[in-house]
Symmetry: C2
Subunit: 206 residues, 2 copies
DNA sequence: AGTAAATCAATACACTTGTACGGTAGTATC
DNA sequence: GATACTACCGTACAAGTGTATTGATTTACT
C-alpha cells in the first residue's frame, strides 16, 4: 500500500483533519469571500493553531484546491443520491439536480456563493480552473445521460440533440442561480422558469 | 452649478483622468483578477504615480465602484447603439444583446472576465452588489420591452409572459457565457444553443 | 525502552498592503 | 500679486500576509 491512507495508528485522522480545516475555510469564503481568506483566519475558525493548518497543507494554494475538490465531491454525492435511490423518472431527477443550482435555502445559498467565488478565481488560476471544469463536465455528462434516458422512454422528442439540450438546461439553471444570488429575481420565479423550460423539453407533441 | 463638472480651467480633465485610471484597473482585473489589484499596480499600469491615483480616488473601494459603473456604462452604450440605430427587427436586436454575453472575441472575453470578478465580489460587498444589480435590472427591462414589441408585431406568441421569457433568456445567455469563459463548451455551441432558444421563442405556431 | 513519525505550537521574516501626510508646482480668480 | 484650488510626488507607517524554522509532545510499533 505504501502511500495509501492510514486507517490505523498515527496519521489515521489525517484526512478527517484536512476536511475539518477545509470546512472552516469554506465558512470563511461564504462569509467574506475568497480573497479575504487568510491562513490565520482559517486556523481561528477551525480552532486550531496556524502551525496546525500549515502541517496539513503545504501551501495556501493546496488548501484551496483541496477545498474545491471537497465541496465538489459533496455536490457529486448529492447528485448520486438523487440518481441512485428509487426508480424516479428522469424528469424528476433532472429537476432535482438543476434545482440544486438555485439558492432556495441557506445551505444551497452558501454552497453557491462559494462556488461563485471559486469560479471567479478559476479565471486567473489554471489549476483551479482544471478542477472546476472537471466538476462541470461530470455534471454535464449526467445531464446528457438523463436526457437520453428520457428520449428512450419516449418522454422527450427523439429529434432533439441531447448534448445541446443538456448544455441549455445547465446554463439556464446556472444563470438563474447566479441571478438569484446577486438579488436579481427570487428563487420562486427562477424555479418557475426552470419548470417551464422542462415542460417544453418534455412535450412530445410539438 | 457649484459642484458640477468643470468644463474649463483646473479640474477640466478630472473625469477623463479618472476614466484613464479605471481603464488601467480593468486591465489588471482582466489579467490577474480583482483580488490581485493593488493601488501601486494600477498606478504602474496607468503610468502615473501612486499619489496621483490617490488624488483621483479617495479610497480603493471608491475606485472599484467607479470602475464598475464605468464598464457598466460602456455596456449600456453598446446596447443603446444596437437598439437605436436602424429599424432592426426585435429578434435581431435581442440576439445582438444576448450574444454580447458570450465571449466570442478577446474584447468581450475581457469584459466578461471582469464582470465575473465583480459579480463574485458583489456577494460580499453590498455597495458593489447594489451597483451591479442596477445594471442587471436595466438590461432586464430592455429585454422585457423587446419581447413585448415582438409580441405586438405578432412574432412572438401573445400567451407568453414577457417577464418570464426575459428572465429565461437573460439567465441562459449569462450561464452560457460563464460556461464558455471557464472553458466548458465553445462560443459556437453556446451561440447555437442561444439561437435555438430564440427559434423556439419566435415560433408563432406551437 | 527505544525509535521514528505525526502533530502541533510559537516565533521570526521578508513582503505587500491601503492610507496618511507633507511638500511643491502650476493655474485661475480677484 | 495675493489667494485658493488643483494636481500631483515621495515617503512613511502600521497592519497583515504566506511561509520557514525550530522545538516540544504525543503516538505507535519493534
Amino acid at each position: 500500500m505504501g502511500k495509501g491512507i492510514r486507517r490505523r495508528g498515527l496519521g489515521a485522522r489525517h484526512e478527517d483533519r484536512r476536511r475539518q480545516i477545509a470546512e472552516a475555510l469554506l465558512t470563511i469564503i461564504n462569509r467574506h469571500g475568497l480573497d479575504a481568506v487568510s491562513l490565520r483566519d482559517v486556523a481561528a475558525e477551525a480552532e486550531v493553531s496556524l502551525g496546525a493548518v500549515q502541517h496539513y497543507f503545504r501551501s495556501k494554494d493546496e488548501m484551496l484546491l483541496f477545498a474545491l475538490d471537497y465541496i465538489s465531491e459533496r455536490g457529486t454525492e448529492r447528485v448520486q443520491q438523487s440518481l441512485g435511490l428509487g426508480g424516479k423518472p428522469p424528469r424528476a431527477v433532472l429537476r432535482d439536480i438543476l434545482a440544486e443550482l438555485v439558492p432556495t435555502d441557506d445551505q444551497r445559498r452558501a454552497e453557491l456563493r462559494i462556488a461563485t467565488a471559486f469560479t471567479a478565481r478559476s479565471l486567473v488560476s489554471p489549476k483551479l480552473a482544471e478542477h472546476l471544469r472537471a466538476g462541470y463536465d461530470a455534471l454535464y455528462e449526467v445531464l446528457v445521460l438523463l436526457i437520453r434516458h428520457a428520449q428512450d422512454a419516449g418522454e422527450v422528442s427523439a429529434d432533439l440533440d441531447p448534448e445541446q439540450a443538456a448544455a441549455a438546461l445547465f446554463a439556464l439553471a446556472d444563470g438563474l442561480g447566479t441571478h438569484v444570488l446577486i438579488g436579481h429575481g427570487s428563487p420562486e420565479t427562477a424555479l418557475a422558469v426552470l419548470d417551464e423550460h422542462l415542460d417544453r423539453l418534455f412535450s412530445t407533441t410539438p
